[in-house]
Symmetry: C2
């Protein structure tokens, strides 16, 4: 049986109580003093990531300025058995960068340089703290862009994108982060520097590049990234199709893909989402529709013409009650305005919302949406659905009021039930937000013990002491057993010191 020693080691690390003053002394001995933060007011900005319901003050923050400083910080922590949580922009939605009160938070925020742009090979070499959108901005004048576009792309960093294998509206056509990077520089838990992947087509040996991508900071610290750049499409155009029935909209999604069209993006909003966004941004969405689809096609002028006609034909055949096609880029921007404002729009109809993230096979779309509606009635809580329909990546937004006693807990239970619904339909518990601390118990539901054991064996191959981001992403079998696995709700937090706000 594969080795799970790293899981036991991680449990020890979680419970450890290192001496803060001593560790500061050891770090200061080898690193410039200004890169080490330890006063409470300096630590406060790092206490949470985008999953703001969970907060922990880190013991120490290290803000290195060079790869050598990252190596030194890792060497000191390794020698002293101190846990390390690496952090990019801190925009993650599953608590993957949540600090530990007994660990070091290693921020890559100062790694903000674009180091090289290679137009002949269409590659850019960037530091991990570079914002996702900054890459596309830097190469825009060359007619190029970086394809993965998570909603947070203005703020999120490429290092975090790699750690989470981020997606976005356009990943249906252009793939996830893992399909858009070719080489990484990492620093290992022992402080060694290593290059994985290469700029050539395929690299012999095991695919450590793909293994590192989406590993949520558990296998190494990303200190440099070589990304692929794509030519900007000549043109993009959007079809907005309204339906009087969620099932018809779900079936239209499958029909578009089945027709051989690969849209650049294919998004769905259901009625609560349409109404909320319409009130907020006035994008002229049909507020009586049960659901709308936004289907973007990009490519050459001629290609776009052909595919837009195809999409129109399919959605009409599938019973769309109204079909609009953007006539120019200004109108295209208006079509998208509602979708892009959908999350903030929820703030107008509910004090709080909880954004779920699950993935299902496309064919199950209609059934799962109807199932979510039934759960909404059962739990007595409203849900708005705004999501990447084309790749079956759901984002149900559960509306709640945190000031009402017990409503957060009920919301989390509802969220857990949605995860299970996705799994029942052959889906996964997370599409693009990662597992982090948020979904760690659902991992026990998705994976049988032998696969979890295999995950721990892989972890053992990179981090036998279990120091990198312990307690996140992959639950121990012990935890799953305690949890009474196979039927799971968002429940216990993995950190004894964790306060819930």
């Amino acid at each position: 049986m594969a080795d799970t020693a790293s899981a036991d080691a991680a449990e020890q690390v979680l419970a450890s109580r290192p001496d803060k003053a001593q560790l500061i002394e050891k770090l200061v001995a080898k690193l410039p003093e200004h890169v080490i933060l330890h006063a409470e007011e300096d630590l406060r900005p790092f206490e949470c990531d985008g999953l703001s319901a969970y907060r922990v003050l880190p013991m120490i923050v290290v803000l290195p300025e060079t790869i050598e400083q990252v190596q030194i910080a890792m060497q000191v922590c390794y020698a002293n058995d101190v846990a390390v949580v690496a952090r990019g922009a801190g925009t993650g939605l599953s608590g993957g960068a949540l600090p530990m009160e007994n660990g070091v938070l290693l921020s890559l925020a100062k790694f903000k340089q674009i180091l090289d742009i290679d137009t002949a090979n269409r590659r850019a070499t960037v530091q991990p703290g570079v914002r996702n959108l900054a890459i596309s901005e830097a190469v825009s004048h060359l007619g190029l862009y970086y394809a993965p576009d998570p909603s947070s792309q203005i703020a999120c960093s490429i290092g975090g994108n790699v750690a989470e294998n981020s997606g976005g509206v356009h990943c249906l056509k252009y793939g996830l982060t893992t399909h858009n990077i070719v080489e990484l520089e990492i620093v290992t838990v022992e402080g060694e520097r290593m290059t994985i992947g290469s700029e050539a087509l395929d690299t012999p040996g095991y695919d450590l590049l793909a293994l590192m991508t989406g590993s949520e900071g558990l296998l190494g610290v990303i200190v440099q990234v070589v990304v692929k750049l794509l030519p900007k499409p000549e043109r993009a155009q959007v079809v907005l199709a309204a339906f009087d029935d969620v099932r018809k909209a779900g079936e239209a999604v499958a029909a578009i893909i089945q027709a051989g069209i690969i849209p650049a993006g294919l998004e769905m909003l259901d009625n609560p989402a349409i109404v909320a966004t319409e009130e907020f941004v006035h994008a002229d969405y049909p507020t009586e529709a049960a659901a709308i689809l936004l289907c973007e096609v990009d490519g050459t002028h001629a290609e776009v013409d052909e595919h837009i006609a195809d999409v129109r034909e399919v959605v009409e055949r599938e019973g769309a009650t109204e079909v609009r096609v953007s006539r120019d880029d200004a109108e295209r921007a208006i079509f998208w305005a509602g979708r892009k404002a959908a999350f903030p729009a929820m703030g107008r109809i509910s004090p709080d919302y909880y954004c779920m993230d699950g993935t299902i096979p496309r064919k199950a779309l209609a059934d799962v949406l109807i199932g979510i509606g039934e759960l909404s009635e059962k739990y007595g809580q409203r849900v708005a659905n705004v999501f990447h329909a084309g790749d079956g990546n759901l984002h149900p937004l559960i509306l709640y009021d945190a000031n009402i006693e017990g409503e957060l807990e009920r919301t989390e239970e509802f969220g857990g039930a949605i995860c299970e619904l996705c799994l029942e339909h052959g889906g996964t518990i997370t599409g693009e937000h990662g597992v982090g601390v948020e979904k760690i118990d659902q991992m026990c539901v998705q994976f049988p013990p032998d696969e979890l054991t295999q995950f721990h064996a892989v972890k053992q191959a990179f981090d036998s002491k279990g120091l990198l981001n312990p307690g996140k992403a992959v639950p121990t079998l012990h935890r799953c057993a305690e949890f009474g696995a196979m039927h799971v709700h968002n429940g216990e937090l993995p950190f004894p010191e964790l306060e819930r706000l």
Copy 2:
């Protein structure tokens, strides 16, 4: 430091001398007798794969008919510390399926069923022994196909494609095998069955699917594959462009990509290859050209029109002496006929040829081709180049006569020098043929000890006894040290019992 115990274990396995009669007895006790072959005449067909210069008679061949039988065979071998080499169609070119005289050859040849075709999700579930082309043939009537198309696609099996992460002419646009599969069933070295990946967009946990793909049979036995299907493009058209200078042809390749065109295929033939194929198939190639490019564009009718015009403009600007565009599918087939017949055509101009496989960044294409020309003069051996220019995947064919004393050895030395040339230009030692036994020493040149150590640690996580395909793909540090690494030629064979023909 990461764990290399599996490497030591594999060395022991390589040197082991299991009792054949006893092992047969143990297998026969649990498996139908007809699935176990052990007479010399039955073993002979399995003695080599596509790298026919190396041959070894396996101790025993197991030809299971069900996944349960694969599990039993693995359990027996695991309990008895016997090495296992899994084999698909045996068309690999690097000796990855070369048997061991002290090991079991596990053939998946009887796993030939296409189990499910799911048009809504554009997926097919197939057994590993299904031929690559058989998948496309089975879904052709639905307007779909499976994209990766290695030259051996008539014969090679999908399980082998996964093990080697196979490419093909169209992988420039459609990706390698790793980009075209979503789920695998594997049997572990201990005989457990495990599902990795999923039909949904992205799976949480480490990306074991990508890790398994291209792992050359060292991490598990592939017993089922879920592949992606793509819609067949409406139309494809080819530009043939001739150049009077190899450098200009190489630069035209970079210019096409830089212009934002992603061709479905972009192949190059140099003059020796042109002349040889022209004499063989009369495809009307310009025999006086230093090099020709074949650039295929596919997509909608309109898209193809636009891109073909763009390609023509680029190659003319880059100095093409002649440009032809296929007028219909018949002419397109003629344009490709020469390329497809290039390998057999070599048989007319040389008794033997050695097909190399290396990858370089596209921008280095012209320099590396000129470097190969210089090496050809140095070694006094002719080379013909026929290759996937678009993704920098070279296939130099070194012409030689095995009947001339020492010429095979000189050819292998020449091949090693080409590998090093690729590495000097930022490339890799293999593009799509794998490492196997052929390139194992070049791995010492490409990878520093810390990355090789990391590879062994990953192996340890899956196969701590080192029983799966030992001696292939990843060299031990010990081997690299003996080899005097950092300057390597095809040299010692990893198996003491290996005879060279």
